[in-house]
């Protein structure tokens, strides 16, 4: 029961309180780049969540059974990035073969995910936090859902903003950043929600 409680708290805290984008600044590039339309933002979020959950599992296994068992901490960054890149490649091939519809929706986003720093950040945070296997996977899932939440909300705001009268100087990147700032402020309200 205690175990379950910890897992649940990790999940809620990663989705809302320590949101990867708005609090930890991980994954800002896709957040700014792929948030013009709700639909594409949602697909991107889905693809990222999928890769994040797999990454959490894979890097936990590698870190525990290879890097720590053989005392090779200096290969952590190199091996994690290889794992992520291969995982993304593998997922891309798998989806292309198994579900052309899903591939059409997610395909173009998959290569972008390798250089999404939220994924490597996630892989690096797991050993730092000392999570066990199940907590790590839940952490990955939560991070993905939090990412999806933020990017979809942002896309919703930007779709509405299309009809707004934005000063010329602030059009494009500046207004998106300012919106993100307002969202980050709103998310600060979650910080007292639970204590880990």
């Amino acid at each position: 029961m205690e175990e379950f409680r910890v897992v649940l708290l990790v999940f809620i805290s990663t989705v809302l309180i320590n949101n990867f984008i708005l609090v930890k600044f991980l994954g800002i590039c896709p957040f700014l780049g792929v948030s013009k339309q709700v639909e594409t933002a949602f697909s991107m979020g889905l693809a990222t969540t999928f890769v994040m959950t797999l990454t959490a599992a894979a890097t936990w296994l590698i870190n525990t059974y290879i890097l720590e068992a053989l005392n090779l901490p200096f290969l952590r960054y190199v091996s994690f990035i290889i794992v992520i890149a291969s995982l993304v490649q593998f997922v891309e091939m798998f989806i292309r073969k198994s579900s052309p519809v899903l591939y059409k929706a997610l395909g173009i986003f998959l290569p972008l995910i390798t250089t999404n720093c939220a994924i490597l950040g996630l892989a690096l945070l797991i050993p730092l936090n000392g999570y066990n296997f199940i907590t790590s996977v839940v952490f990955g899932l939560g991070a993905g859902i939090g990412f999806t939440l933020a990017i979809v909300l942002m896309a919703g705001l930007r779709e509405t903003l299309e009809f707004g009268d934005v000063p010329e100087t602030l059009q494009g990147v500046p207004i998106t950043l300012i919106l993100a700032g307002l969202m980050a402020m709103a998310f600060m309200g979650f910080s007292g929600l639970i204590s880990i």
């Binding site: 200096f74 290969l75 190199v78 936090n129 007292g192 880990i196």
Partner: protein, 185 residues
């Protein structure tokens, strides 16, 4: 096609092997320095929470490592321990030194944390840590004003959660020390 794939594999393997060899040298070169910093930081932390101690000894009771501080006449003047607990963002690690004869805390030192820079991160600052200097044991109350009694701790403005987390860690650590050393020993 085959030769092509083998060329790709060879290229990546060569880069990987060169990188691994280079990094193992970097690791060997830097590790002593990193360990020295960590040891130094730990010693410094023990010293800062047991200011009058001349020598230290590690002692393991109930699976917890305690640092006992002795003065120049070999009299034990205090005990320190490292306690961990959840903070606002992540685990906070605190060193706590106590006087067991008179049941009060000498002081605390924050060893590691990931609190918000400029806010929660100020738990490492003198102003917040002063809260725990010569503090009697007990259950602490974190308040957002100047403390009015011995069991109150003044929160850092804008970082109440971090302030409360540290108070909780200290409170629990004191209980553990009391358990290990049997209260009024």
């Amino acid at each position: 096609m085959d030769t092509k794939i083998s060329k790709l594999v060879v290229t990546l393997s060569v880069i990987g092997i060169i990188s691994a060899i280079a990094l193992s040298f970097v690791y060997q070169w830097t590790t002593p320095f990193i360990e020295k910093h960590q040891l130094e930081a730990r010693k410094q932390a023990v010293r800062s929470v047991l200011p009058e101690a001349e020598e230290f000894q590690e002692k393991i009771i109930n699976g917890i490592t305690f640092f006992e501080g002795f003065d120049s006449s070999q009299k034990r003047i205090g005990v320190a321990m490292i306690a961990k607990g959840p903070g606002y963002q992540n685990i906070i690690e605190v060193m706590i030194g106590v006087n067991l004869e008179k049941d009060y805390i000498f002081g605390i030192d924050v060893l590691s944390h990931e609190e918000t820079p400029g806010l929660g991160a100020r738990i490492t600052g003198q102003q917040y840590r002063k809260n725990y200097q010569n503090k009697p044991f007990g259950d602490y109350n974190v308040v957002k004003r100047t403390p009015q009694n011995d069991l109150e701790v003044e929160a850092i403005s804008g970082a109440t959660i971090s302030s409360r987390s540290v108070a909780k860690i200290v409170q629990d650590a004191v209980k553990k020390i009391n358990e290990a050393y049997g209260g009024g020993v």
